[in-house]
Amino acid sequence: MTKNINLTINGQHLTVPEDTTIVDAARQIGIEIPTLCHLKDTNEIGVCRVCVVEVKGARNLIPSCITKVTEGMEVMTNSPKAREAREMVMNLILATHPKDCLTCDRNGDCELRTLADKMGIKKVDFGAPVKDLPLDDSNPSIIRDQSKCILCRRCVSVCNEVQKVSAISMINRGIGTTVGTAFDRGLADSPCVFCGQCVNVCPTGALTERYNLREVWDALNDPEKHVVIQTAPAIRVSLGEELGEEPGTIVTKKMVSALRKVGFDKVFDTDFTADLTIMEEGHEFLQRLTENGKLPLLTSCSPGWVNYIETFYPEFLDNVSSCKSPQQMFGAVIKTYYAEKFNIDPATIYTVSAMPCTAKKYEANRPEMNSSGYQDVDAVLTTRELGLLIKEAGIDWKNLEDSQFDEPFGEGTGAGVIFGSSGGVMEAALRTLSEVVTGKELDNLDFKAVRGLEGIKEAELTLGEHKLKVAVANGLGNAQKIMEGLKTKELDYHFVEIMACPGGCIGGGGQPRLSSPETRQKRMEAIYKADLGLPRRKSHENPAVQELYKEFLKKPLGEKSHHLLHTSYTPQDI
């Protein structure tokens, strides 16, 4: 039973449940106390001190973001002492922060700048020199500009506590404190898996994805280039947020119109290759199951997860499905089947993918992803970059009409859509596997046991004569739990879906910033709504997939599939 606590804030009496923080209590009576480092559930360490308030009887000012209310507490958020201190602290943060806001990647959505504005900072005192630290642009996914870092530690908390990758941590002391990797090398030489969760929580321009917008514009403006874009399942429920819509708004059709206006020659749906992945991976699973292959089968759609297992559990690489991710399959199909079918020189095709992910940039750059003779995917844009692209193109998002994806890869099934949420790949696979194995149509397509934002989900089911135990994990911290369990043999499964990011792709590192549990929940609900709204909800029923097999691939796991749609993995150094 929760107790109620009585307190006053700025003289106003209120009653809140115990364990409420001062910030949350104040919010209930319409008082906003500035916070900066604080990130609910992830970074509750009270280090930036911009949220300090005066509490009667306390010797010092109190960090309101992490201090719980107590009975009879008298809080003054705007006493001269509290206001002056907050202003001074904010000034201290800004003192050494670069002032090139106009050209900063975060111009427009910088939390620091917004806060400085809200706090009425008009002048930065002290005359201290701004930070000038080397830029880490060692990798295709994430750029770290330590000069812009305000040491809030959100990224460190996410990397260490949520993802358990621990690629970055605090190094040095005092004024020399920075966020760094071991031996302070670039992320490329660290265990970083490029999941981008750090980028998603960074309040300033210190962590951004490597922008590929310029290359995409160049390709669009090149008359020789046939520019094709594929859009991932999870961005249709989140792109709206970048363009001013509520979380969970489904914007698929508006997005297609916008991209066509931007100038893409074809706008395709990654759902199509999600369905294709199910055909390949489903059959791979059946093969392993019936031919005594290595089990459990671990999914391979999430490039952050693939980087993770290559780095931390290379002894399990034989368990990872050899299927390329839907993004890479798409690229390979475009540059072979599509080029052939429409008689386009594959050398002139430029494939762009819009992904909720920063690790996809790394994946697209993998040297082995070129089985068509060309790099499968030429450029990857995050959801945030896609929003920027649409804004840069001057498109009036609000009044945009609906339109459909282009043929022949415009149709995805509901099974493809749910790839965007944790458990979706597993559910899509089960929908197909059940019918392939039993030959009977399913009455109920919903495998609800594997849905939801919970970190690890397990289910037991029968597939023909086989009793199966499956698991779904999202967030690498949970992946670690599964892998440790498999290592010690305390856990035993047939099939495991793992997504690197919390909630799956809806919580991807390339998604609109500060994906909270609430926004993830709304995006997830939208994903399943989209699934229900589609005429076909099973991958094997996708007519375009069927046609692809008929005309080109012949059969799942066939020779062409093997060549174009499958890959292999290499252990990585930590």
Partner: protein
């Protein structure tokens, strides 16, 4: 059993070892053998006496004759004259700085006379590597009493009644702290000793660790019994190798006698003690940072609450006290809280060990009853200021403390009086400064220290102390601006009230205290570009006194920038525009004709 008629105590503390006590000891063994006295006289290797500047120290019992600065060559004389013939060697006796008289007996030396050695009582008197010597001094009787005659609650009540407060700096009532840890729910609890002594110049904890390690072990065992813990950690700086070695020996000996381990004194109480070596970061003296460091994480404090009493080491209820605090405990339990509470002031009971350093004649460790005045410590125990210069101020509490000026010298020392004077007890550092000290430079020195030792976690301490330091550096370079003092004050105020831990909350103290008592010195630097103490090089100016200069040209020849000109045998001149204030001319002048202002 062999009885020796005499004991020769040779200090093997870090200070005396550094000045050669190991050689003295070896020679002593040789000479005793040479004079056939090895069965009459026993050599006892002891811990620190606290009077390190007089080391190596040798004390001969039963008379208690105190020899200081003993060299290897002196040993033969001590053996032949004193140990054989019974005639103390006068030339090696301590000579009183004031009266120039020889003081043969340990107990009569001024440095010790005003002291009240409770915590340091065994230091320098017993062999710390022999548990029996501790037992001979009533060692482990307090533990026996606690375990066999008292309930944990009674132990806590006794410590509460004694009025003992944390000796690490904060001064929190020890008994109350134990009560919190006892009341905390948990199947496993820890007792932790903070032996991460980090104040510059402080070494009281090291002396106890090296000189009387069993007092700490016994104190921790009693604390563990009181709070319901069965395991303890001693977090000691790796820079204290001798302390670590002595602790290891002491723990092993206590184990062997069953004073640590299972079922101690047949009471069912178990206690295991571990040593954890720390890398000596100043901030690790903060208890949550210390705990993080023991756990193998970056040594950084975290926001409290939750306090370690509820959520400490590995998330378990933990009680952290410092060495001196624990070392008081066996004495309190053995002699009773009334005895202890009978010493000191109303709110600060017992004694405090101070590390007396700086421009004072006698430097070393002084344990005094609370309430003694600073004047007594500095002028009676410390013997006054070197070269009889004028006393200017004393810095108390290390980099977190503040300075106390002459007008407050009669302040009785206790936790609260020091706070109200703008200083703090801290761990007990006392740095005495004479008239030649620049107070702005002093503030800069201490702020530089805390700034370097800041963990970098919270904004005010990380960024704010750096900006304050930059301002102070500017002022000492003669580049101070109007408004700098006010800016320092407002930064100090914010840093104190918003920093996450004690390090940041106290970091501005040296600046605030010097501003409080020596504001005129700041103003002289800023407005007149003058350093009243003549310390700040950038503000110094050299000139030649015409009436003293004979024109020998010595100064002109050493000047590296040719700033001095003049004809031979005629007074010279310094060109202030060229002078880089290196002082070489003043050193070269044999006629005191060059003055620094």
């Amino acid at each position: 059993m062999q009885i020796y008629r005499g004991h020769v105590l040779i200090c093997a503390g870090t200070g005396c070892v550094a000045s050669g006590s190991k050689k003295v000891q070896a020679e002593m063994a040789n000479q005793l053998e040479a004079f056939n006295l090895e069965n009459d006289i026993k050599i006892v290797e002891t811990g620190c006496h606290g009077f390190c500047e007089m080391g190596p120290i040798v004390i001969v019992y039963p008379e208690g004759i105190f020899y200081c600065q003993v060299k290897m060559e002196d040993v033969k004389e001590i053996v032949e004259e004193h140990l054989l013939k019974g005639r103390p060697v006068k030339r090696l006796l301590f000579r009183d700085q004031m009266t120039e008289e020889m003081v043969p007996h340990y107990r009569d030396i001024d440095f010790y006379k005003k002291q009240n050695r409770i915590v340091l009582g065994n230091c320098g008197f017993i062999n710390p590597e022999n548990i029996k010597e501790y037992i001979a001094r009533d060692g482990y009787e307090a533990l026996a009493k606690a375990l066999t005659q008292m309930t944990p609650e009674q132990v806590i009540d006794e410590v509460k009644a004694s009025g003992l407060r944390g000796r690490g700096g904060g001064g929190f009532p020890t008994g109350l702290k134990w009560q919190f840890a006892r009341d905390a729910k948990g199947d496993k609890k820890y007792v932790i000793c903070n032996a991460d002594e980090g104040d510059p110049g402080a070494f009281m904890d090291r002396s106890v660790l090296e000189g009387d390690p069993h007092a700490l072990i016994e104190g921790m065992a009693i604390a563990a019994y009181a709070i319901g813990s069965d395991e303890g950690y001693i977090y000691v700086r790796a820079e204290y190798p001798l302390a670590i070695k002595r602790l290891q020996i002491a723990i092993a000996q206590a184990h062997e006698l069953g004073l640590l381990g299972k079922d101690i004194f047949g009471s069912g109480f178990n206690f295991k003690l571990n040593i954890k070596e720390g890398a000596g970061a100043f901030v690790c003296g903060e208890e949550t940072a210390l705990i993080a460091s023991i756990e193998g994480r970056r040594g950084e404090p975290r926001v409290r609450p939750p306090f370690p009493a509820n959520k400490g080491l590995w998330g378990k209820p933990s009680n952290v006290n410092n060495v001196e605090t624990f070392a008081n405990v066996p004495r309190i339990i053995a002699k009773g809280s009334q005895w202890y509470a009978g010493m000191g002031t109303e709110k600060s009971k017992g004694t405090k060990v101070f590390a007396l350093t700086g421009k004072v004649k006698n430097t070393g460790l002084a344990e005094v009853t609370m309430g003694l005045t600073l004047r007594e410590i500095i002028f009676e125990i410390g013997g006054g200021i070197i070269d009889d210069k004028k006393f200017k101020a004393v810095q108390i509490g290390g980099p977190s403390g503040g300075c106390i000026p002459e007008q407050l010298l009669d302040l009785p020392i206790d936790y609260d009086s020091l706070i109200s004077a703008g200083a703090m007890m801290g761990s007990g550092g006392l740095v005495v400064m004479d008239e030649d000290t620049c107070m702005v430079e002093l503030a800069r020195f201490f702020l530089n220290f805390t700034q370097m030792e800041s963990c970098g976690k919270c904004t005010p301490c990380r960024e704010g102390t750096k900006i304050m330091l930059d301002i102070l550096e500017r002022i000492t370079k003669g580049e101070g601006k109007e408004g700098d003092i006010e800016l320092l004050e407002s930064l100090a105020k914010t840093i104190k009230s918003t920093s996450l831990c004690g390090l940041g909350q106290t970091a501005p103290n040296p600046v605030l205290a010097t501003l409080r008592y020596f504001r005129d010195e700041y103003e002289a630097h800023i407005k007149e570009k003058r350093c009243p103490a003549g310390v700040c090089t950038a503000l110094a100016s050299y000139s030649i006194l015409e009436d003293k200069c004979i024109g020998c040209t010595a100064c002109a020849r050493v000047c590296p920038v040719n700033a001095i000109s003049g004809e031979v045998k005629k007074p010279h001149k310094i060109d202030p525009a060229k002078c880089i204030k290196c002082g070489a001319c003043a050193q070269a002048c044999k006629f005191n004709a060059i003055v620094k202002k």
